[in-house]
Amino acid sequence: MNDKSILEGLFRQHYGKMIHLARTLLHDDAEAQDVVQDVFARLLENRYQMTGNKTEAYLMSAVRNGCINHIRKMQLRERFKHLHPLDEVNDSRPIEEVLAELDRINAIVDGQIEEPQRTIFRLRFDEELTFQEIATRLDMSVGAVYKYLRQCINRIKSLI
């Protein structure tokens, strides 16, 4: 087995999880793909110095770090607009734990949030409408949309 087939094996085995993490942390699919490809490019430069059974953890941390660096390079307004962290907060929790928390948020939204809070949450975060667009669609004031979203976020926080 040569170097290339080892790398290809790693790539095919881990790509799915890696791209999922990058898509979760970044808002742009093309940029998420770049981050994952860069991880393998660096691996190639270093000639695969991987340590035994920690391969997946290493690759996933590399993706997380790549995404954090990418966000750091964005201008503040861009970071804010896409709801990325504004401060240099290093989330040192294991990646599985971070992803599990996101799964819990999704389960709460889909199962334990009432209307119209849930619809407002979905329109904002799934369809990425502006609050003004949501207000128009639901025929309510923007102030009411803000109020329901605040309630929704606080409820999620209390249930998590």
């Binding site: 290339k4 290809e8 790539f11 095919r12 790509y15 799915g16 791209i19 999922h20 898509r23 979760t24 942390l25 808002h27 742009d28 699919d29 093309a30 940029e31 793909q33 770049d34 994952v36 490809q37 393998f40 490019a41 190639l44 390079k73 964005m74 201008q75 503040l76 307004r77 861009e78 804010f80 607009k81 896409h82 709801l83 990325h84 962290p85 504004l86 992803l99 928390e101 996101l102 799964d103 948020i105 999704n106 939204v109 949450f121 975060f125 799934d126 502006t130 609050f131 003004q132 923007v142 102030g143 803000y146 979203l149 605040r150 976020i153 999620i156 926080k157």
Partner: protein
Amino acid sequence: METNNNIDRLLDMLDHPERYSEQEIMDTVNRDDETREFYRSLTQAARARRSQRSLSQPVDEDKAWEQFEQTHLTAQKHERLWLRVAATVLGVLMMSGIAWATVYTVRHLTATDTSKQKTEKVANTSQTEAEAGTNLGVADSSAVEDEAPVVFDNTPLEQMLDEIAAYYGMTVEFQNDDARNLRFHFVWNKGDGLEKVLEDMSHFESVSIEQTGNRLIVQ
């Protein structure tokens, strides 16, 4: 009540970030612990839903590996790569309406008539391009023989300029940070002088690149 007003202000800022200064945004987010925590929850909510969307999106390992191979593992494949470059250039020319271009004229055309190609500016359409079979993803000049054109396909400006600047012995200075990640389609003929390359690049939307001494300044 005051905190709620501050959070409402933050939500308004999300609809119109361009109306506020960076300082105003930071001041609002960090005004009190509750708002800061609220913003963190919004960040988590956005990630949660991106995660859910990602799971429903198909993952194409084959395409990703192919792209990686083309970009990083083609050093020993000059011949094949050159054919792909030729095919892509031909495709671009045909899209420009020059359907009579034939393979053996490509090398000549790329040296003399880049103006047809530079109109193919593409930002963030890698998927569409891939479907059209023109997604080459070549940004590694070492993989291509010296005189062959380098095709930057949906490539971030920063990456593209770093490579071009290094070739002409220049350094790059971004005065506009937003421009770093703008993506363009560009065919670079290394035989062209820097002046010609910059002239071709002057057609990029939303950026201007100027040469000052041995620096390329992006505004």
